[in-house]
Amino acid sequence: MTVKRDAAATGSKRRRSHRSADSRTPWPLAVLAAVASTIFVVPLIGLIGSAPWRDLPNLIADEIVVDAIGLSLVSSLVAAMLSVILGVPLAWVLSRSRFPGQRLLRAVVTLPMVLPPVVGGAALLFALGRRGIIGEPLAEATGFVLPFSLWGVIVANTFVAMPFLVVTVEGAFDSVDRRYEAAAATLGANRFTVFRRISLPMIAPSLRAGLVLAWARALGEFGATITFAGNLSGRTQTLPLAVFVALEADRPRALAISLLLVVVSIVVLVTLRDQWWRR
């Protein structure tokens, strides 16, 4: 795109010249942005610099690490799926329905984003643990105990991850042009069909972004998981838990797992961001 600075004749050209001026960053912004980048780049350099590159394959091929990779993938993917299946309807209700206590519900749904995950894990334990308000009758009736199981990890992951999807998707539902939905309704589509055929496709980009955010949050989950689901290699020890435990005894292994998490996260974020968010 070529831009002529001096050609200010038409409105569209004026706008273009504005854009070109905007591309030169004002120095206060540049300085602060550089500081901001440093906060993220420096820890990464620390990690990469101290990583045991030569032993990396051996450290990652270790049985404990392989188990943790499998558990992390399964639990984070299932949590992301549950977040979509349950979170999209919730987001729709929060965006479109009007009912008493809605603002309170919206606050409660986003609470896990603010709450320390350990507190979330403790809350889950009080509610769904074997002695919990819901957990106790459940255990008595079915013998099923959530904590210290893979399902416990999935519940903890979903608890912290779903709010990211709900917030993203709710915002998208809010900004959908309602005239398309109204038009579909006049043409005889019932409300569920309108949701399925009109609203949902229109928010698809936000849904994908929310899905990625929720998945990423679930993959990195630590506090709620260790509090609610415990830590047992092969059953509930996900990658972040493995890093935490290894950090105390076997630093090269901890660094190797951390590096693995960083690589996976960056690959996913870079690919998805280019494909989905920048459209």
């Binding site: 074997r130 002695r131 260790i226 415990g230 830590n231 047992l232 105390e248 076997d250 630093r251």
Partner: protein, 251 residues
């Protein structure tokens, strides 16, 4: 950006900056940073309080975590004056890394206890129940001292435990036994004393021969070594001993 938001931003910034500025300007107040094993949580809180009472103007900051986690923090240069570890191995690592000034001194010992929730709902009656796959069993992770002591004791007793969780610090394990989420766990005898939720101890003679010794040392990175020495001497004093006794620690 609405003006009210900008206003709020300014107010918040001013508050934050004044708090941060306040942190550094503690003029005549001296702060001693004590890193102590998680199992020392209550006893060191009492020790710190008594030490502060005897030394006006001194504030003791406690950093409590698993011993090995604290070791890593110290090795990475975390500012600390005194370190109290839950086993000798962790302290030896710091001595080997020249992170300790002077010799560490043992000040307490601790035994393991087979703990169950109040009322012993799962009818645990001995160490062998740790191998019961039907029960929800908790141990400390093998990386922390209480986990090492547990695996040593279980190995000698010939019990192959079937844990449902291996907690990275003993207090987390205690909390889960207290809450009744676990049927049985191997914790420290001192943690039983510390428990407010009422755990019960099941007799397990096989645990008796196994104890861990707690060394305390002044760190070479200490910025107030004299005060650190004074605290270490206080821990080893009869007064310190009395506090440790009260919290269930052996000699």
């Amino acid at each position: 950006m609405p003006p009210s938001f900008q206003g709020a931003l300014v107010v918040v910034s001013i508050i934050v900056i004044s708090i941060l500025a306040g942190c550094g300007s503690d003029g005549d107040r001296r702060t001693l940073r004590v890193f102590a094993a998680a199992s020392l949580t209550d006893s060191f809180a009492d020790l710190a309080e008594a030490f502060e009472a005897e030394n006006p103007g001194v504030r003791v900051e406690l950093n409590l975590a698993g011993s090995s986690s604290l070791r890593e923090q110290i090795l990475e240069g975390a500012p600390a004056d005194v370190f109290a570890s839950a086993n000798e191995q962790v302290m030896d690592d710091l001595v080997a890394a020249a992170a300790v000034s002077g010799d560490p001194a043992p000040f307490a010992s601790n035994r393991l206890a087979l703990a169950v929730p109040a009322g012993n709902p799962a009818d645990v009656d001995g160490l062998a129940d740790l191998a019961d796959a039907e029960l929800l069993v908790g141990l400390c992770a093998s990386q922390v001292p209480c986990g090492q002591l547990a695996s040593e004791a279980l190995g000698m007793a010939g019990v192959t435990a079937a844990p449902d969780t291996t907690e990275p610090d003993v207090r987390a394990l205690l909390a889960k036994v207290e809450a009744g989420e676990l049927d049985v766990g191997l914790i420290y005898a001192s943690d039983v004393v510390a428990s407010t939720g009422g755990v019960e101890v099941i007799a397990a003679p096989a645990l008796d021969g196994h104890s861990t010794r707690y060394p305390v040392a002044v760190l070479s990175g200490s910025t107030s070594p004299a005060l650190a020495d004074a605290f270490m001497i206080f821990v080893l004093s009869p007064e310190g001993r009395a506090i440790l006794d009260r919290h269930g620690f052996g000699r």
